[in-house]
Each structure stands twice: as C-alpha cells, then as structure tokens.
C-alpha cells in the first residue's frame, strides 16, 4: 500500500484499519536536549510557557524524526491543578523533572477531597490547551499530536504520601476507592480540555499500579473500575500505560476500554501477544534509557527488531525518553522500523 504520513498511520492504526508499517511514536514525554539546544531553551523553562513547550516538543519530530508531537514533559499537571505546589528546579542546570513540593492530603481524614469546580482553569491546564493548539498548528497535519494524563491511583500517590496510600488500599479500600472516584472525575475533565484543544490521542499513565507494587487482585478490584470510567469518557483514541511487571494484568488492561495498551521492557510481549490475540493493540516496549540513550545503534536495531518480532503494534518506549538521547539512535530505530519485514 502507499506510504502514509505519520499522523494518518497512527490514526488508522487506532481505528483498526490496515497500515503500511507499525508507527514509531510515543504517548509519553520525549523532549530532547538536542531540540532544546537548537531552540536555546532551558529545560526548566520549557514547562512553564506554552509556546516554548510546543516548540520544544515539535523538535522531536522535526529534528529527530520521532513520529509524533507530545506535550507536556512532566507529570505534575493534574496535581498542580488540584492545588499542589510544584518545584521546577529553576536553579538547576541539570535535567530535573518537576516534582510535587507539598502534598494536598496529609492524613486519612483529608481524603474526602472536593475537586475544585474551576479545575480546568487552574495551574497549567490552560497552558496545556494552548500548547496543544500551537503544536497542532505547527506539525499537526503531518504528525499525530498526543498528550497524557495520570491514572487516578498514580495521581493519588502524588497528592498524598504513597506510603499511606498503599497501606490504606489494603486496610481501607473503600476509602481509597472514593478518592479514586473523585480523581477519575478530575482526570476526565482535564482530558476533555486536551480533546477540545485538538489532541489526537491520550495516554493514561497508571504506573503506580504496576504489579511491582500492587497485586493483580487489588488492581482488578480497586484500580480497574476507575480506569474503565475514564476510558468510557474519552472520545479520542486512548492508550493505557503501566510500567514494570505487567504480564499478570495485561488482560485487565485490555478490558479497561483503552484502544491500546502500553507496556515497558519488563513485559514479555510475545507472551502478552499470545494471551491477548492478534487484534489487541500493544505498544512497546524498548528501554528508553539503557537502549535508546545509552545503547549503541546496533543494540537499538536489535531491540527494535525484537519488539516487532514479539508482536508490538507500534514501536514505542517503556517510559519517557531521557532527553540526552543521541539523534543517531533515534535514526537507527526509525530505519529499523521502516526496513522491518514481518
């Protein structure tokens, strides 16, 4: 078939149409120092200005050829809109991602959270909408524009002590469930803003619920219902990403209502493919640091081939791509995807 452009390929993949080859893209952060350098931006500043964020994100497509444009780069948008203060490490010359400075919920009693009615006007949600519009205008006719939101459990782990959250999911699952229900509403509202701004696909990142941390049983009873609630409300194609050990929960992930599931290098994708059959979209699962950043071009090619041999529907990283990624490695990855014959 004729060669599709990056956007058409990804959109067709999501709707189950035939594509010329698997796309090579991501739904998670992928800004690069290469891109930042070309624009003369500091990493810390790129999180706080819509036009800088959009321009920096677009360089991953324009300069390195990654087949998408994704904003934002950090994981604090929702928590900030809910009222947490963030730290962007403006003082630092190092690559430090923003973190939450102060928790919103300090004890069990404070778990009865009320989501602010003007949530989508708070923090950087408006900035995000603007950034999506800008990058869409810039590269949106050629490349698919993606964004991400946190899963409710991962978000809960940001606004309260993870230590407490984990213990309470065991001791008082009803209470945690109520919080997750509220947070899913918040996530839905933020995602709705991104959809209105024109995003092509949204990834829900629920990495706190990996089987490295929570049992598959708790995942099914406590987390999955709220993920279902979110995916039911999303209108653009959606991806559910969970990192770490996921082989025991891929069936639940596929049940969540997401159009595709995303797993990292700890997942045995051949096994997952066997379990889920040929039709389920599985994105993954190269190691974005050890392979794409620190590996040789040869390792990159071998890893990409293995992902495709195992049966991924799109070549996609296991996490955010670390910014110092060498452009030659991205090129090697794209070359391998283009040359691959199943």
């Amino acid at each position: 078939m004729t060669t599709l452009n990056a956007r058409a390929r990804v959109l067709k993949l999501f709707t189950g149409e035939e594509v010329d080859r698997p796309p090579c893209f991501s739904g998670m952060g992928n800004v690069t120092t290469e891109g930042l350098k070309a624009l003369g931006y500091k990493f810390a500043a790129s999180h706080l200005d819509a036009s800088m964020m959009a321009a920096a994100a677009a360089t991953s497509y324009k300069l390195l050829g990654l087949e998408c444009g994704v904003v934002p780069f950090d994981l604090c948008i929702e928590a900030e809109a809910l009222g947490c203060e963030i730290n962007v490490y403006a003082h630092s010359e190092d690559l430090l991602y923003p973190t939450i400075k102060k928790k919103l919920i300090r004890n069990e009693a404070e778990m009865e959270l009320v989501i602010p009615s003007n949530l989508t006007e708070r923090g950087r949600v408006p900035l995000m909408s603007e950034a999506i519009r800008l990058i869409k205008k810039d590269i949106g006719s050629e490349a698919p524009i993606g964004s991400y939101v946190l899963g409710p459990f991962t978000l809960a782990g940001q606004i309260m002590e993870l230590n407490d959250l984990l213990k309470l999911s065991f001791k008082k699952p009803d209470k945690v469930g109520r919080l997750l229900d509220q947070l899913s509403d918040a996530v839905i509202r933020v995602a709705d803003q991104y959809e209105q701004a024109g995003v092509d696909y949204i990834t829900v990142r629920e990495m706190g619920a990996t089987s490295d941390v929570l049992s598959p049983r708790v995942f099914k009873s406590l987390i999955l219902p709220y993920l279902k609630k979110i995916f039911e409300k999303l209108s653009v194609p959606s991806v559910l990403h969970i990192c770490g050990k996921t082989n025991d929960i891929v069936s639940f992930m596929a049940e969540s209502g997401a159009k595709a599931i995303s797993v990292d290098q700890k997942n045995d994708v051949a096994e997952t493919r066997k379990k889920l059959g040929p039709k389920t979209l599985v994105f993954g699962n190269y190691d974005p640091y050890n392979v794409l950043v620190a590996g040789s071009t040869d390792l990159v090619r071998r890893t990409v081939k293995k992902c495709l041999d195992d049966g991924v529907s799109a070549v996609w990283p296991g996490c955010d791509i670390w910014p110092t990624v060498p452009p030659d490695n991205v090129k090697a990855m794209l070359d391998e995807v283009r040359a691959y014959r199943r």
Partner: protein
Amino acid sequence: MVTDDKKKELLGKLRNAVIQYDEDTAKEAAQEALDVGMEANDAIFNGLVSGMEEVGRMFEAQEYFVPELLMCADALYAGLDILKPHVKQLDLGVRGSVVIGTVEGDVHDIGKNIVKMMFDVAGFTVYDLGRDVPLDKFVQEQLRTDSDLVCLSAMMTTTMTGMKKVIDDLHAKNPNVKIMIGGAPVSQDIAAKWGADGYAKDANNALKDAINMVSSLKKMKDEAEAKKAK
C-alpha cells in the same frame, strides 16, 4: 531463667507478628521477651528479622506486594523500638555507617526506607537524608560523617542519571568510600557502568552487600594500620 519452650514461643510470636503485619502483637511480644529476660539481640534477629526474611521470600514469590511489605515493616519497627534500647552488643562482626537518600528530582522513598530499615536492624549508624536530596549534599554528608557507605536511590528513569554525578563526585573526593545504588530503573549493568560498588536488587541483598563492603573496608584499614605500626 527463661525456658527454651517459652523462648521458642516468643520468637515465633515476634516472627508471626511481622509476617502478619500485627503491630500490637509485635509490641506485646517484644515487651514480654524483655520481661522474661530474653536477650534483645536474640528477639530481634531470631524473631523480628526472621519474620522479615520470610516476608522477603513471600514478596519475591508475589504472595505479598508493597502494601503488605510496608505494613510488615511497621510491625518490625514496633517491636524494634521496644527492644533496641536493650541491645547490649550487636554481633554481626561489623558495624558500619551509611549515608542514604533518594536523589534530587525524585520524591519516592519507599524502597529507600525499606533498605534503611535493614541497616537499622543490623545496627548500622544511618544518616538518612530523605528524598529529593540535592546531589552535593551526599558528598558533603559523607565527608562530614566519614561514613563507610553511601546509598543512592531513584525510582524513575527520569531521575536516575543524577546518581552517576554523585558517584563521580564521591570518587573524586574520597576514593575509599563504597557506593551502592538501587531503585526500579537501576540494574547491575548500570551500577557497573557508572562505577558503583554495589547494586541493591532488593533490601535483603542490599544489607548483605553492605556488610561485605564494610568488612572489606575495615580489613583494608586494619592492614594499612598494621603496616604503619611496623
């Protein structure tokens, strides 16, 4: 004098209290152990720690996950707080000191806290810097405390590269210090590539490795002093 049967009963109670994350029973059994005249050391290592070892096995077998692990650790600390003031002498052959923390940019500290707990029970002097620790702070604290060991933790791919910088700085300032790194994205390969002396695959291994490193450090120091004495 405490009978062997009673001793056995109490050790079993301590062990099970940890496994069943029962803080109250851990406290009761610890107090009872002291009341009947058991050695605190015995109660800690053959009771609480033995329970934690079983928890480690259950975690590996995926019978327990992190929430259970955290609750077990709470039970262990509940017993340890009562027993520790009565510890006469810890006989692990080695007493080390360690600076531990999660690197700047990372606010996750659960893994770090579990490793810290292992050091606590083993009688190490622990300087816990907490989480989101500026990289220079590790170097400053090591120099200030002259610790044998520095343990660095990171939870995410987006934060772990800070560890390399600390390793380089520490090695430049103090080539003798031993460095261990750990956390979800870290591997033996990365540890080797970045020049760390140890890799904490999990909390049990972290402690074993730490004891080995501190022993070899002490041995080196003793040999150096013996040479000087000659």
